[in-house]
Amino acid sequence: MLLFQKDKKHLFLLAGLIFLHLILISVQVPLGGRTSFFEKTLFSVLTPFGRAASSISRTLSGFWNNYFDLRQVRRQNQMMQNDLFTLRQENNLLRNLTDKMRTELGIREEISRYFSSFVVASVTSLDLSNVNSSIIINRGERAGIKPGMVVLDPVGQIVGRVVAPVLSRSSRVQLVTDEQSGTSVFTLSSKAVGILKGDGQGHCRLEYILSTNPDVAEGEEVLTSGFDDIFPSGLRVGRIVSIVKTSSLFKKILVKPYFRLPGLSQVAVLTVDLKEF
């Protein structure tokens, strides 16, 4: 009898908690893309642990490598890699700039703004529910990061954009491979404009390309168009890997993004609104 009462108590507790979770899930509908205070609090409690563990792991692996490899060469290599990372970002941004700027004077004026236009951040954690959905980086409001900012990989290829919550020292980045993401893009050779959506498995789908469009081909490069007012135009996104003609109005096009999640330890967050340029 006592055991039965105990079971009943546990069942009530379970029902109560399930009800609480259902309320928590329903509350998010009117919130839309915004994060609830509760989620933001949990996120802010968790990220320091992640950052610390990531930093310890980096330190330990650095210690190991420095001791068992040629120490000096390794350090120099690291420095050169950092320089290369920065130079590649600058090079990519400058290339975009020179494409758009008509006069030499204009270039001179804007170059100074470009050099301080990105923040280098380390990836501290991956998405636990779907690795192709988001990442957490170790830079936040203190570094001038805000939701909506564009995130690039070390060679200037698109990774995603910053989404809420952004804390003082960490923020979340929605990857282009996330199913809820959407990016306005165009194909380089055929100039077909469409919407790129993630498939949640590390690839993207190029949507709204008419079945009657004969020009789009496999292997074609996909770039951002800038029509979404989020990503500036001309950033490299990926390459078309397969095109399937369906009975529907649009083609089924699969795009392999250029950025590679395995090994992605550093990213660049563009902190200026590139639409101004």
Binding site: L14, I18, F49, G50, S57
Partner: protein, 159 residues
């Protein structure tokens, strides 16, 4: 108090291990869900009450580290914690082989529930995740099963 402290340490270990895994390999993250290990371990050790509370805590922590609907992992892990504690009280799951099978079924159930909830919320027939996710029940069963075996051995030797 001791139980509470043990649970807190368990959660802390899960957070740190998850952060290490994130840095180690992209392929390990979907296959190794340390939060599930903690929920199942404590539910089997301490009963369904611990399972329910730890399920809620670990699930919400997992939700906070994921982009998407907050509360889905919380809900599925709460149910996992309850089922693990309740069933293990009704049937003997101590033998290693039976333990592995039980853990595998539980972990598969949790994964199935999570996928079903995500599909329902996003109104899709199939909610796609990477293939490595499907390894999660195997990895969980092996890890928690081995942990139990080691703990029992250690306790036997200590007594």
């Amino acid at each position: 108090m001791k139980d509470f402290l043990e649970a807190a340490v368990g959660i802390l270990i899960a957070i740190v291990l998850t952060a290490f895994l994130s840095r180690a390999s992209v392929f390990l993250v979907p296959a190794v869900n340390v939060f599930t290990w903690v929920v199942i371990y404590f539910a089997l050790e301490k009963g369904e009450l611990a399972g329910i509370f730890l399920g809620t805590a670990c699930g919400l922590l997992q939700d906070a580290l994921s982009l998407g609907v907050f509360g889905v992992a919380g809900l599925s892990k709460t149910l996992l914690g309850y089922l693990a504690g309740f069933i293990s009280r009704k049937i003997d799951v101590a033998p290693f082989g039976r333990n592995l099978l039980f853990l595998f079924i539980l972990s598969s159930l949790e994964l199935g529930l999570w996928l079903a909830l995500m599909s329902f919320i996003f109104s899709r027939k199939h909610f796609s995740v990477g293939g490595a996710f499907l390894l999660q029940p195997f990895v969980t069963a092996l890890a928690v099963g081995s942990l139990f075996k080691l703990t029992r051995k250690w306790r036997r030797e200590a007594s």
